[in-house]
Symmetry: D2
Subunit: 310 residues, 4 copies
Amino acid sequence: MTASKSSIWFTDHLSPFEGHLYGVRNILFSTQTKYQKIDILQTDGYGRCLVLDGKMQSSEADEFIYHEALVHPAMLTHPNPKRVFIVGGGEGATIREIVRYPSVEKVVMIDIDQEVVEASRRYLPEWSQGAFDDSRVTVAYFDARRYLEENADVYDVIIIDISEPVDDGPAYLLYTKEFYEVVTKRLGPEGVITLQAGTTAGSLPCLAAVYNTLKTVFPVVAPYLASIPSFGLPWGFILASKGPDPGSLTKEEVDRRITCLPSASTENGVLRYYHGGLHHAQFVLPKHIREAMGTQVRIIEDNYPISVYN
Amino acid sequence: MTASKSSIWFTDHLSPFEGHLYGVRNILFSTQTKYQKIDILQTDGYGRCLVLDGKMQSSEADEFIYHEALVHPAMLTHPNPKRVFIVGGGEGATIREIVRYPSVEKVVMIDIDQEVVEASRRYLPEWSQGAFDDSRVTVAYFDARRYLEENADVYDVIIIDISEPVDDGPAYLLYTKEFYEVVTKRLGPEGVITLQAGTTAGSLPCLAAVYNTLKTVFPVVAPYLASIPSFGLPWGFILASKGPDPGSLTKEEVDRRITCLPSASTENGVLRYYHGGLHHAQFVLPKHIREAMGTQVRIIEDNYPISVYN
Amino acid sequence: MTASKSSIWFTDHLSPFEGHLYGVRNILFSTQTKYQKIDILQTDGYGRCLVLDGKMQSSEADEFIYHEALVHPAMLTHPNPKRVFIVGGGEGATIREIVRYPSVEKVVMIDIDQEVVEASRRYLPEWSQGAFDDSRVTVAYFDARRYLEENADVYDVIIIDISEPVDDGPAYLLYTKEFYEVVTKRLGPEGVITLQAGTTAGSLPCLAAVYNTLKTVFPVVAPYLASIPSFGLPWGFILASKGPDPGSLTKEEVDRRITCLPSASTENGVLRYYHGGLHHAQFVLPKHIREAMGTQVRIIEDNYPISVYN
Amino acid sequence: MTASKSSIWFTDHLSPFEGHLYGVRNILFSTQTKYQKIDILQTDGYGRCLVLDGKMQSSEADEFIYHEALVHPAMLTHPNPKRVFIVGGGEGATIREIVRYPSVEKVVMIDIDQEVVEASRRYLPEWSQGAFDDSRVTVAYFDARRYLEENADVYDVIIIDISEPVDDGPAYLLYTKEFYEVVTKRLGPEGVITLQAGTTAGSLPCLAAVYNTLKTVFPVVAPYLASIPSFGLPWGFILASKGPDPGSLTKEEVDRRITCLPSASTENGVLRYYHGGLHHAQFVLPKHIREAMGTQVRIIEDNYPISVYN
């Protein structure tokens, strides 16, 4: 064994039969909150990482892939996004991507767990890059579903940036038909949402079920793919909208809109992952995934929720 | 811990700092050949798997992704592939994909390790599905590089289906400029090659170096992506040709050609992964990968080879 | 990593916080019986191993330590053991040690799981070394507790050779006061029993509880220690008797009795672990273990059983 | 998997085929010194632990076993220990055990790595319990072998408290015949030494070789055993002397001497592991270990050193 090999490892158990190992240099923060276990790890291969309930959320090395893939499909598909709501989003990187858009006037982020936000601001400041301090942004700690049920404000874009549904975890009831029905009520007529929906490996029960469930609520539902290396498996996302179709924008128009995003700082002012070509290519599913999406019929309901292994 | 969780695990050490864990139900075959260590594992999550020198090569669950992604970009880009050469290809699945094409008259596969082929035929018959017995196919056990150096036959398509370069491993000198110069001499005027070129995670030193090296030899060099879940990380491939450009075929034309492939058996006669849309989408690289390909300048030479961690 | 390092590992989870890793060369046999999961592994470090419900039972390399430590303290302490009963004992090595004694006229072994015995005879023949065929031996597959409850035969020595108590496992009700009360009824006036009672690491809840429980039933209760490397932790055993005290034999007398055991074969005819000095030394507990035994008061009852992590 | 199970693990690779896993709650300190890698871990099962070059040295939960087993056999065997030398001993717990003896006038500890001592004093204060501040103690950072070669002071007891010999590690030349010849020159006429000598598992190449090597230098050489759970395997120690024999003291006399050690604090003033019975019992080796000691003939020399896997 070479001297440089890691001797302390974090294992993300992706399934009862599969895991991904990350060499750990330091455990920067670790606590059990009211809602979940938080670990912030300094890994050897991916830099700092946020781990919730034993599952990798995002890493210094490639969180830009996850967050750009999550946010820009919705923000670019909506013709003029002014009001944006974030379900979850604790790390602050989703806000960072949203406030790039000059059209945005108001961002409301509701995360149930204040301790995740505080730990992220302290230990992972590159994720938010000051975006929490943007004057357009409001952050509150609350059950996002109940917030949307009780507050009648309407948004152009809603980004659902939550962890996977694990038994008794905080995201459990944020994947159901009933929740998406609340979401659609809080969207304007051209409203667009995006969310991550689990791995595309295996029989993709999560991705297909979320897809089917969204189709009962939204007229436009478009699954798309991104590979975030630190996730250990390829990943699926879904865009759903009340009308706008991501495919109606040309590659050139997407690149033009991206070029117009302000680039205050050299390093972070520009997108690192997303571009016009990808805006189209990411929606092209391999045949076996397309077919799996079509053949599964599970609808997720409050009384019949899904959960993934953890 | 649930009763169903695996208690025996194979670890593929992707780097000194990262690994992927596979629950093992059975070790079907294990030997040290003259060239490498072979393990054929019955895994809980991916079915049977071929492991060479401790690195996952392909799994029952998703080898179709790897082999379709490796073979069809070349076979569809060449206008009329008749003679095909395979460097390596021990599992036999690459032959399986090639002999689907009615235009093919001759397939020569040269793998250095007869024991890999024999173990694959015995334990992994679904990989080759009888293709070794196709009358157009010739298999020999030899150093593929020396074979190409010494035999002047010319091919339309050459598929380089080898394991990653590990120190003293059998694929060590099949990633160099000198080898690609031999390959190009054995290609007809519209010759096309494809190969796998390592993960797209991290700073992708392997993928970028192979890309740069191929560009010193071929006029057309096009990297592309595929996600094979059992690999534990997203993966890069490269198509290179003496002229034909994969982008010149329309999506519809690709789908038409695929439709014309004979479908003798219901299950295996049709492609499971590849289609016309993917033929284009897979060549669209995320911005950070595109940029990494452009900024690295390493050329791989016999005197200056590359190797990956194992 | 050196080429010789194992890449497939079995983990015995000794506690939620601790495990022992064994490099695996082959999985010789694996099944789920009505009672438990059986795995017979060819390990790199310990040769063949029997694993039940994910917990190491015995290994080719050091089962002689476990079985000699389990059997001889009782057989040597009883003045003239003729009738011996084995609770469990599936591997057959406990029989092997018992039939060494010329005084033995009858051995009854009752194991609940016929599949363990059959797999052991097939894959681990060195454990029993033909002892199953000894004419004095009777083996039956049945609940040993119920057997003892229903059969009034009396024994000189009873060896309890069972796995640790895991939730819903087959040994669950073989560690309770009620069971030991049955055992004592089936012992002759100088009857002696021995059993393994879990690790001596940590706060030894199992060992101390079994000790306390036995003390409610037997006048002589003597804990002792043995280190079986493949167990990953130091181990505790207990001898209990209706009268005979292991300390009353001199070291020399123990050695003399061992010398009188017939040594038919050179290799296996003689003891490899046990001797007169050890007969005394093993009962000397470190101060912290002695004190832990004294301070814990838990009594194990059918309604209040114990279980260990698995 | 239960919520309480560790998800971050340290693995001590005991051999190429075996390891022990420790759940890690926190990495308190980690550095690469000029001599070795230091990690101080907060484990879930053993409290704080010192790890050098990837190998467990001692844990909060059971370092008392290791240090009492290392120190007291020598201190009790010498009739009147006044001057004590420690080779290594960085954690300070060996000093702690030595200064219990009122007869001790001078303790010299020479450890090559000041950073180990400083990290231990800061993160593991329970190990030394203020003993570094005892006025009889002198600590210096130097090559202990060269120190003994160059300084002609004579000692009653020398405790060799060093890590296992790993390739290029700091303890490499502290296991050789040449070193023990230096040690014997620095011992008074009734001088006694003790040291740890590796696991008793397997073919015990380290323990047997150290035993044979010591026998070429000392008239009395007595191996003994202790089980330190956090070591993952049973462990061997050796006492060697110029004359005093540990067996010549009665159990009662040992207990009397221990009773006379001052017990300033309730918790730490008394021994937790060692007592008169153990003083004798620990020297009783199982038959297979006794025989392995006798059959191996390897002598360790500067030109022919040993090393263990790490």
